[in-house]
Symmetry: C2
Subunit: 255 residues, 2 copies
């Protein structure tokens, strides 16, 4: 299935499930849509926090077709959306045509799916994939850099990596700065203010086996958490795991 086929399938209401593993090799993106009056602050928040908020593309007010996916429509081509008002979840619709207006600015933010493919290809095991669960994510005690109304903690994802493979995992993900890049921390969850790895704030806990270290990457939930904490009157995101599939090749993001 090509990205265009998947997007059409989502548009027609046939594909409504998560996109993990779909369209292998293609970049998938987080979606955050905010009113124009908040767009400068949100863009600045992303600029100040490039590891959790690596921008793939910004689609200005009045447009719905990103350059990274010609023919796509951001109002319909994700499998499922979330709609928030005043920071409260209001709905999880399959499309948001009726809710869209020429006042909205859309941000496509890189997602760790892009670096998990090269990690797996290099023989780095991914416990949450093996276990068929969501990657565990944690709020940390490190604040993200604030910008205007947007502020909040750095959120990280965690993958247990065999100690001897940690350098390889750092090097591979470090090549992918547009999708979170190298880890922000290795080994000591308490240094990030994480009390219990078995109780993630988002996603699902995974087993850490003897000889493995917990490795922490900046996570794309960081900007969503900041957007919600700011109690924007209105915003739209993708539903967790239901990403926007672009035409970009993961390989093109590496260097």
């Amino acid at each position: 299935m090509t990205p265009a086929e998947l997007r059409l399938s989502a548009r027609e209401g046939r594909w409504t499930r998560p996109t993990a593993g779909a369209c292998a090799g293609r970049v998938q993106a987080n979606l955050m849509v905010v009113p124009r009056e908040a767009a400068f602050d949100f863009l600045l928040f992303c600029q100040r926090n490039p590891k959790p908020c690596p921008l793939i593309e910004v689609v200005e007010a009045g447009r719905t077709e990103p350059a990274c996916a010609p023919g796509a429509d951001l109002r319909t081509d994700l499998p499922r959306y979330r709609v928030y008002r005043d920071g409260q979840l209001q709905a999880e619709p399959l499309e948001v045509r009726e809710l869209w207006s020429p006042d909205l600015v859309a941000f496509l933010i890189g997602c760790s799916f892009s670096f998990e493919e090269p990690l797996a290809a290099a023989g780095v095991p991914l416990r949450h994939v093996e276990s068929c669960v969501n990657v565990p994510m944690y709020r940390t005690n490190r604040p993200a850099a604030a910008a205007g109304r947007f502020h909040g903690p750095l959120v990280v994802s965690m993958r247990p990596i065999p100690a001897g493979l940690v350098p390889l995992a750092v090097q591979i993900t470090g090549r992918f700065e547009q999708v979170h890049g190298a880890p922000v921390h290795v080994g000591a969850p308490e240094a990030l203010g994480i009390a219990d790895l078995a109780r993630p704030d988002f996603g699902d806990a995974v087993e850490i086996r003897p000889g493995e270290l917990p490795v922490f990457w900046a996570c794309g939930v960081t900007p969503q958490a900041a957007a919600l904490a700011s109690r924007l009157p209105f915003c739209i995101t993708h539903a967790p795991g239901h990403m926007f599939v672009t035409d970009l090749e993961n390989a093109a993001l590496g260097r």
Copy 2:
């Protein structure tokens, strides 16, 4: 002289000359100041054109002290400014306190001074430095990615490099993505629409000797050119060569 001492000296009107070579090892930055209503478009222009417009810091409306230079004041601490109205140069004052308002947003953009130090340290000759002239710069036939009202050509700087040292020059500057990074082109000026290297659009022509190739880097004049072409009602920049000297270490930008 420390960066703080140089900034104080500029503030007191004692340092009014260009900053090339001052405060060795510290990051110097281009300044662009625009009204708040244009700030989203300009930030997006920088995001879409990271090679010519690598952001060091954005200083929001209401602030004049950047995080990269504690104690500094952007209204006074550059040796010389340029003031534009409707895209026309109006003045080149030594400070802009009277012109500043809480409506202005300041952008600090990386400058190639930061990568010229490691180039020279690695034995790559820099003809414009040897010749004590400004680096030659050229408008190209490649458009920068537009954002809102901002559009214009990619502007490049050119340094003649002995052919055998081109790979080294690419590798060294490629480590400095926050100050233009790797070259955008090597060798063929006509491919960039440059008719005559002896007639640069900005700066001064330099000799290209036998065995040398012209190597082209994205240039920080690109965002200024776009800002002027957009006929902003009002903007402030540094005067050419009269940069803002930050406390940041060049070495900290490399990777």
